[in-house]
């Protein structure tokens, strides 16, 4: 499905990126993303450290099932994107984007009162790979009455 402009703008802004996958036994796992971009209008690419999140990357390699929630720390506005992902190696432009993301999100979180030392363990681009998510479903995840409603499901 084509990603709406509002969602596309949101996922590339400095927001927290959390990644849900599951293994062959359908046991869920959690990872964090280091920045995202939108390719071809229907694929979201997320940088993931396979050093920090080896289970997440192994799950994606195994079955590709992926859910990514993008959450703005200042007001908890969140979108969850779901679909199937393929992995590719990160190239220098991905690593540059990850660095820009890291510095932007740190500035946002620091502005909200979180110290730099506290944030240090959360972000890594070591042994980075890129998950290319072909988006099938988009949900509003902001806490409140609209939480969990579909923006638009795959047709």
């Amino acid at each position: 499905m084509r990603i709406e402009d509002e969602v596309a703008r949101f996922v590339v802004s400095p927001v927290m990126i959390i990644i849900g996958t599951r293994d062959a036994a359908n046991r869920p796992n959690i990872g964090r993303g280091m920045g995202a971009c939108v390719a071809d209008g229907e694929i979201v690419e997320v940088v993931v450290s396979s050093w920090q999140w080896p289970e997440t990357v192994a799950n994606l390699r195994d079955n590709g099932r992926l859910a990514v929630t993008f959450a703005r720390p200042s007001d908890y506005v969140s979108y969850q994107l779901k679909g199937r992902a393929t992995l590719r190696n990160a190239d220098p432009s991905d690593l540059d984007r990850a660095q820009v993301y890291a510095s932007d999100i740190r500035a946002v979180l620091e502005g909200l009162g979180l110290s730099q030392e506290l944030l240090l363990p959360w972000f890594s681009d070591r042994e980075a790979v890129v998950a290319q998510l072909k988006v099938e479903e988009v949900y509003v995840q902001t806490p409140g009455p609209k939480a969990g409603t579909a923006v638009r499901a795959a047709t």
């Binding site: 959390i18 990644i19 849900g20 996958t21 599951r22 036994a25 359908n26 046991r27 869920p28 796992n29 959690i30 050093w51 920090q52 999140w53 079955n63 099932r65 992926l66 859910a67 990514v68 929630t69 959450a71 908890y76 969140s78 969850q80 779901k82 909200l112 009162g113 979180l114 030392e117 506290l118 944030l119 240090l120 363990p121 959360w122 972000f123 890594s124 070591r126 949900y139 995840q141 806490p143 409140g144 939480a147 969990g148």
Partner: protein, 445 residues
């Protein structure tokens, strides 16, 4: 090294949001932030699941889930592999989570918006720490040292030695500061009839806020009184700016007849501890710190211990004060008082102004007026707890067990405003009135 849940205490402070991942039976994963994770025991956690129907539906179809928790001191991350065990919608564990949720809701400025519907209990199968780029040397910053049991014993002994409300409240506040190292604290008294709490005394603030009021169930203080449980917040940075904005719009007491609660504009941690005795909450001890994570479970336990002792001592002092013998009316000091002290009483809220300065309203206002009227009509300057308790005119059925504490509040308020009327503690169950002038009482609607 095998990690245990008990090693992760700083992850359960509700400071850094946790994350939960689930998977539907068709293998579609789901991931979201979570409002609160509470440690039940070393093998179980409880989650409040407020908003996300998908997570709830998934765990019922596939009980496996993963949680990511963050240590609020150093940012270290831990993954818990968990299995859903059961749901609860009442009972002590439900109440425990409800209280924790209230604190975390206050933290994100959503107090009262998030109502707990149910609690999900998960068995923890394993705990794993997540690799980190942070330097190996610990980035943990020192938090407040754990209180010493000897210091708590000293403080408890000190409270037990006090015989009046003044001594008990002063010893409590001094002890919280000198023995436990928390310089900013407030003692509030519960007013069951008006469903609010009134500040009796405070320490470590620019203004004491004596006489200020907060509704029961509002904020941390109200939540502690309403639930009889300790409620704490260990990172206020997110709502600090909001607090500062409120602080800035300082109210004019004389115009609004409202006294502002004392508060540190830059507090990062707060704890409200119920002062319970004889099965009911008599007040709340509220303590603040400029440090993040200032109040561990050990600090909470220490504060609960001394708050309980103070509450019991206050209850006994009220009881003994009511038995103080009556006194023969003392005559006004025979000295020429040329100056007039203007007393204004507004019947609709029992507010009292002295020389156009707002003093107090409600029951404390009636008490002050009662003494001033007896001073004018009978020339009396000394009163007993017993006579005030028995006075029909005072309409005091609601304060029979906290009259002493109310008189203490009134005395402190008068002292603070440096008015021409003062109250003096003259012995157990007795109070003296001292005026710097001749009172003229004007009662209006």
């Amino acid at each position: 090294m095998t990690l245990h849940l008990r090693d992760l205490k700083a992850c359960f402070e509700g400071v850094i949001p946790s994350i939960i991942s689930t998977a539907a039976s068709d293998g579609t994963p789901n991931i979201s932030y979570l409002s609160h994770v509470v440690m039940v025991d070393d093998e179980h956690v409880a989650l409040s699941n407020q908003f996300f129907a998908k997570t709830t539906a998934n765990i019922r179809a596939n009980p496996n889930a993963a949680l990511l928790l963050v240590d609020a001191r150093d940012g270290m991350q831990f993954r818990l592999d968990v299995t859903w065990a059961r749901s609860l919608d009442d009972g002590p564990l439900f109440e425990q989570v409800a209280t924790a949720l209230r604190a975390s809701s206050a933290q994100v400025g959503m107090l009262g918006i998030m109502r707990l519907k149910g609690v999900d209990i998960f068995r923890v199968n394993s705990v794993a720490s997540i690799a980190s780029m942070a330097p190996l040397e610990s980035t943990v910053r020192p938090v407040s040292p754990a209180p010493d049991l000897l210091a708590i014993a000293r403080l408890t002994r000190g409270l037990g030695a006090q015989t009046d409300a003044e001594g008990i409240v002063s010893t409590l506040l001094t002890g919280v500061s000198d023995e436990l190292g928390f310089g900013a604290a407030v003692v509030l008294l519960v007013d069951e009839n008006r469903k609010l709490l009134t500040t009796i005394a405070s320490r470590g603030y620019e203004r004491t806020g004596v006489g200020s009021e907060i509704p029961i169930s509002e904020g941390l203080i109200g939540a502690a009184a309403a639930t009889m449980r300790t409620v704490k917040i260990n990172d206020l940075s997110r709502i600090r700016r909001l607090g500062a904005a409120i602080e800035a719009s300082s109210l004019d007491e004389n115009r609004t007849r409202t006294i502002l609660l004392p508060g540190l504009p830059d507090a990062l941690s707060q704890i409200a501890v119920p002062m319970s005795a004889h099965g009911s909450v008599r007040g709340v001890l509220f303590v603040e710190s400029r440090e993040r994570l200032a109040f561990s479970e050990i600090h909470a336990a220490a504060l609960e211990t001394i708050a309980g002792q103070a509450a019991a001592s206050l209850a006994i002092s009220e009881l003994l004060a009511s038995e103080a013998p009556s006194i023969s009316p003392a005559l006004m000091p025979a000295r020429p008082l040329s100056r007039t002290v203007q007393i204004t009483h507004h019947r609709f809220d029992d507010s009292v102004f002295i020389d156009n300065v707002y003093v107090i309203k409600g029951v404390a206002g009636r008490l002050l007026l009662f003494m001033l009227q007896a001073y004018v009509s009978e020339g009396r300057s000394e009163f007993t707890n017993r006579e005030m308790r028995l006075s029909q005119g005072l309409r005091l059925p609601d304060i029979k067990d906290n009259l002493e504490t109310r008189l203490l509040l009134l005395r402190r308020r008068l002292e603070e405003k440096s008015l021409a009327v003062k109250l003096i503690h003259t012995g157990r169950g007795r109070i003296g009135l001292e005026l710097d002038g001749t009172p003229v009482i004007d009662s209006t609607g």
